[in-house]
């Protein structure tokens, strides 16, 4: 159970970074940390004590496998995380080119 709580702490760090910081790159980093924490939580749920990796072998000694379904879902989730990062970086570079800063409050001021 302590592993779940450590995972929650990691998610909270990402949430703090997204809500509190004012730099656009820091916000992208916070979203990345939340993404990692959620992926880690999914794989932690499917772990079996003393199990083996979900690949059949000819000389298998241990019969019990780790749950393969969360791994297959996380495989898609990692791709979505990469797509989010790429799109946010493109938008951030465009904003920097337009306003000359990464600070979100200054972007608000320049708009009016």
């Amino acid at each position: 159970m302590t592993v779940y709580i450590l995972c929650l702490i990691l998610f909270s760090i990402g949430l703090y970074c997204v809500v509190r910081k004012r730099n656009l790159i820091k916000i992208i980093i916070g979203i990345g940390i939340m993404d990692y924490a959620v992926n880690l939580f999914f794989v932690l749920i499917g772990y079996r004590e003393g199990g083996r990796s979900p690949i059949f072998a000819s000389d298998q000694v241990i019969d019990k496998m780790v749950d393969p379904l969360p791994q297959s879902l996380v495989l898609t989730s990692i791709v979505i995380g990469l797509a989010i990062t790429l799109l946010l970086v493109a938008i951030a570079i465009r904003i920097y080119e337009k306003y000359g800063t990464f600070d979100i409050t200054k972007i608000n001021k320049l708009k009016g």
């Binding site: 690949i55 493109a90 570079i93 920097y96 080119e97």
Partner: protein, 138 residues
Amino acid sequence: MKYIREDKGMTLIVKSVTRLTLGFILLYGIYITLNGHAGPGGGFAGGVIVALSFVHIMLAFGKEVALKRLRAWLLRVSIGIAALIFLYVAVIRSSFVSCPVFSTEVIIPLCEMVIVGGGLFAIFIALVLLSKGDKDAE
């Protein structure tokens, strides 16, 4: 070899090591793709490795050489052909069952590798050119 003497890109050591290791990185990406059913791996990881090998050329030699090796129309055509093969497998799948080369374990990861590799390299080029244009504007 004649690219080495140009002043673009990084130093001579980086260029020589890039020239030696480039083929192995590409081969490793294809191996990861085709080995996805027997061991760890898969289409997406192989495609990202292929894209990273092109990014490797671009970081070491500069923009012009990378674009000379991999033209833009080639990228577009290969991505389009791979997507069409995807559609073909989805719609008329029964004709592929007889030939073992075109079974599901081989053709879907290969198409995914082409789409992912070409697409991520296109994204990288777009972002680099965007920040270059930004620097020129300053």
